[in-house]
Symmetry: C2
Subunit: 270 residues, 2 copies
Amino acid sequence: MKRPIGVIDSGVGGLTVAHEIMRQIPKERLIYLGDTLRCPYGPRTKEEVNKFTWELVEFLLEKNIKMLVVACNTATAFTLEELQSKLNIPVIGVIQPGARAAINFTQNNHIGVIGTEGTIRSNAYNKALQSINEDIQVSALACPLFVPMVEQGTLKGEVAERVIKESLIPLNNNKKIDTLILGCTHYPLLKDTIQRVVGEHITIVSSSEETARETSIILDVHDLLNQGNPVYDHQFYTTGDVGIFTKIAQGIFNSSIDNLQAVRIEKAVI
Amino acid sequence: MKRPIGVIDSGVGGLTVAHEIMRQIPKERLIYLGDTLRCPYGPRTKEEVNKFTWELVEFLLEKNIKMLVVACNTATAFTLEELQSKLNIPVIGVIQPGARAAINFTQNNHIGVIGTEGTIRSNAYNKALQSINEDIQVSALACPLFVPMVEQGTLKGEVAERVIKESLIPLNNNKKIDTLILGCTHYPLLKDTIQRVVGEHITIVSSSEETARETSIILDVHDLLNQGNPVYDHQFYTTGDVGIFTKIAQGIFNSSIDNLQAVRIEKAVI
C-alpha cells in the first residue's frame, strides 16, 4: 500500500509528528501541509479552526492519502470526531495518544497538560483522560506564547528559557503531578528547556512520538502498512513563508533527509 | 460496550498482560484463561500450539468476548494470523506491540529478543521488526528454563538469579544491543533480575505493558471501549492447579483486587 499518509498542522509543529512517523515506520511516504500563514490556531474560534482544517484536508484528499494524521492539538480538539465520521479513511488525532501514554506512565494519577488556549479551553485532554480512567486528576495550563515563539524559530537560548519559566509558574506551584503532557505538537521543540524547568522527576509525554506510534498501529489494524520497498519521496507544503518553514524543518530532520521540499501553495488552500 | 475482553495464555504469564489492561483501561472487564495444565507451549510443535489455542479461544467465545488478546508469544507466533482472519472480533497478539515499542526506543537499531524456543524458532520477532524497518538488526535467544521456573513460582532469589545469568551469557557477550524485548509474557515477572544481569544501559521492553496499550487503542478504533461505569467482575480460569495459579496471580495483582477467582475447568477445554 504505497499511498501516502497525510499530515496536517497549523504550522511547523506537526513536523515533529512527521519526523517521528518517518523514524518509526520508515517505509511509509508522507505528505505534509502546514498552515503557517494562519498559525496559530490556538486563539481562534471553533468555527474558524473547523473551516481551516477542512481546507487542509481537502487539499490532501486530492493527493490520494490512505490515512490522515491531524498533527495539531487545537484542530484535533475541535474537528477530530467530525473528520472521523465523514472521511472514509482512518483519521487519528494527537490527543488520545498522549492521553493513553500519560496513563501508562503516571504512578499517582495526577497528570499535567500544557497546550494552546483553544486546546485547554476545549477540555479535550480532561475528557480523554477521564473517559479512560475516572480517577485521573488533571492540571491544565494554557501557554499562549509558546507557538508564536516556535514559529519564529526561537527554540532555545535566554529568551526561550525565560518565557517558558514564567509561563510554567502555575504548574511548578502544583507539586502533585508526576507526568506532563506536551499537548501541542510545537512543544517537543522546546522539550529540553521544559524538562529543566519542571524538573527531572516529572515524566514528559510528547504527543508527537505517541501519535507516530499509534499511526503505525492503526495502519496495521487496517492492513494499510507499506509491505514493499521503502518510498522516500515525502512532500512538504506550507501556506506561508517557505524560508522559515524550511529552516525549522531542517532543524527537526537530520541531514540524512535530503528530499525535503517546501512548496508555497496559495489558491489551493486559502 | 460492557462485553468482556478475553485473554488467553499458556499459563500464568498472560496475567502480566491482564494486570496491565486492568491498570491502563480500568473500566473494562476481563475473562482470563490460562492453560496451566499443558504449559509450557514453547517446546511444542506448531500444530499442537494451534490446536490448544483454538480450544482456549472456543471457551472464551462462548463468554461473548468483544476482543481477544493472545497473551502468549508462542501462540501469537503460530496462530495470530489465522485467528485474525477467522474471528469476527478484533484479535491482538503480543509480538507486534513489543516490536513497535522497541523500534521506538532503540537508538542504534540493534534489538535483542529473548523468548521460548517456539517463539525464537518461529522468527516472528525478526519478521515483525524487519517488516517495519529493514535496517533493524536482531539478536534472538531462547531461554527455555524461564517459563517452567515462573510457573513453579520461583520469581526471585539465588536460583532465579543464577538461571537468568547463565541463560543470558550469549546476550551479554553481544555488546551491541541497546534494547531488549521480553518476548514472553512470563518474563516481566523476572524483569528486575533480568535488568540487573544485562545492565542499566539496556532498555527492557515488556510486551505485556505494550500489548495493554495497543488493546486500548484497538478498542478505541473499533468503538468498543466501555463508555459507562467501570465493570469489575473479572473472571480467571485455569486448566491446571488452582493453588499455584492463585498464588502467582495474587503476587501480580495488588491487594485492591479482591475479586480474583481461579476456577478449574477440565472438560470445557481439554
